[in-house]
Symmetry: C2
Subunit: 352 residues, 2 copies
């Protein structure tokens, strides 16, 4: 077909092929050609492919591809939370919103409340608004069905949420690493019998934290005591119950507790205080989540593992922006946790 | 000017004045006339007023005003939180989002983090997106500077936030009524010396709750004890401190505590338990906020006043939709709180 198409050095010497040429040869309108070349608007895949094939064949190059992409972007992104917004979703969302706002991108926020029909409805609405990208977040990081390829191949980032699709990009906290960090900290304080009181085993995070605890102990040449791993619920009450099981009527008791979340840690601290067992003097405690309002109000205030959810949110924002710019990213990335030391495991309080 | 304008019974008998007539007589384009009549797009106020005056003079009526309004709406609204999203903002936001989603309206969510420059930036961005309406929400309900009239006169609802402008619509929980409810409940349990431990007095909510407590006592013929009103901070620690002040070394002590929030109530409950004072047997406690994760984990679980933030959010959504539809609403509306009874003031536990 190149015989009726102007080339870079065409007969007038004036110009290369234009979008008008692409449209004519692909037998579509200029608007459709533009949509296909800018990955903007809804088109049948066959149409998009045909336009792109023609554009490549005739060597079409837009004047300023970057500018053109920018022009055709809606400068909006969507965030879908697959369950209620809560204290895990919030810091992620705030970091995302801040980052997008800095780029002049407005954020549509949707709450799918764990209802697939509602999620579908939200997706349709967001696609109707021509979002440039999508972030999917959740209350917990267990695997969820991937949202299939969307219209226009809009990039998607899963954060604090994991898609069951190896081609998806999922960003998660490093639960295993965080648990190792907590356990090593207790070991560094000279603790040798460290129990792990945690939440329900069906959570992937519970399994990963258990593994991190286990590995840290074994690295230190310590075989975990049978019975020192107690999985239950995410509550203060379970923390108190677990302390009763570990301490009441026992000749040998733990000198360190690594708890799967701060509520469990707080319950454990209360139960130890009520038994006259000094924290951190006799038993040092580290929680997980670094839920400040709870951790700082505990007696003593709780050391805790911080999942750095704001950093996770910022990372998700950066990745999505890169993907909107054309980068392709896949796989599961786990970001490091950090340890926040408070009195429940302060080296001063535990020095003998 | 009516001499060159067709009237309802014009010479052809075919039609009344059209938007074309309005545009011609107002000396503007049809697009501008449409914008002015639909309150859509940016126009100088003089232009908008002129178009509307002309339309009224010649008796212009669009075919289907409702449909036309619908067509020109962007089907988006903005929510600006004037400070970080938190546990007060969240239920409001969730209720709003759900309601708007049901109407096919997408929600832009912005976080102004108490920074007026950032708020302005967000507003400009939202106006650029042609939002149909705006919700402003905050972490606390104290007065804030009103956002002046926006381009296009977009309706604004303040929720859990109060504008310093009598023409603005602000929706708030009825703090005074909630406090009276808590106090009357304690009175109904037979309590006669009820102390009020609360947060910092600079909060309007603290002042209103104090008044509600005071009024309920006086209505029951009880003069509040001097020294039984203790304002401090919003923390568990303050709850424990206040109990020490009220109970340690005192011959006469309160038999009821109304606490300004659940953290204070929880600290108070802990301090009483540690003194061997039975709750609710000897002292019944009611908190405020009904922050479930905290209230249910307390020992005993805390009765609390619920501000019904979800209902507040739904009400804000309804009002905004009405205003987008043309209704005008102003003033401060306070929605009722409700009492959630748990063990800290259960009638069973307190029966003697």
């Amino acid at each position: 077909m190149s015989n009726d198409v102007p080339t870079k050095a065409d007969r007038t010497g004036r110009r290369g092929p234009t979008i008008r040429d692409v449209a004519r040869l692909a037998d579509v309108s200029i608007g459709t050609a533009s949509k296909a070349l800018n990955a903007n608007g809804r088109l049948r895949p066959e149409t998009r492919d045909k336009v792109r094939r023609v554009a490549q064949e005739i060597g079409y190059r837009p004047n300023d591809m970057a500018q053109s992409l920018h022009r055709t972007r809606s400068m909006t992104v969507g965030i879908i939370s697959t369950d209620s917004f809560g204290r895990f979703t919030l810091p992620i969302f705030q970091a995302l919103e801040e980052q997008f706002a800095d780029q002049g991108i407005a954020v549509f926020m949707c709450n799918a409340t764990d209802d697939p029909a509602r999620e579908r409805q939200h997706l349709d609405q967001l696609l109707g608004k021509r979002i440039d990208g999508l972030v999917v977040t959740a209350r917990r990081s267990d695997k969820r069905p991937a949202i299939g390829p969307l219209a226009n191949n809009i990039p998607i980032v899963y954060v604090f949420s994991q898609a069951d699709d190896p081609d998806a990009l999922s960003l998660l906290p490093d639960d295993e690493g965080g648990a190792s960090l907590a356990t090593r900290h207790l070991l560094d304080l000279g603790r040798r019998r460290i129990a792990h009181i945690t939440g329900p085993e069906r959570f992937e995070a519970v399994q990963l934290r258990h593994r991190g605890y286990d590995l840290a102990l074994r690295d230190a040449g310590i075989a975990p005591h049978p019975g020192d791993y107690l999985a239950g619920s995410w509550s203060e009450e379970w923390g108190r119950d677990a302390v009763a099981r570990l301490f009441d009527g026992k000749a040998e008791t733990p000198d360190g507790l690594f708890c799967g979340n701060d509520q469990i840690a707080r319950g454990a601290a209360d139960a130890l205080r009520e038994r006259g067992i000094d924290v951190p003097g006799r038993v040092a405690i580290v929680g997980f989540d670094n839920w400040e309002v709870l951790a700082t109000a505990a007696r003593p205030p709780l050391s805790s593992i911080d999942m750095n959810l704001s950093a996770l949110g910022r990372e998700a924002g950066e990745r999505l922006l890169a993907m909107i710019g054309g980068a392709r990213e896949t796989g599961v990335r786990r970001l490091p946790c950090t340890l926040v030391i408070r009195n429940s495991s302060s080296p001063q309080g535990t020095a003998k």
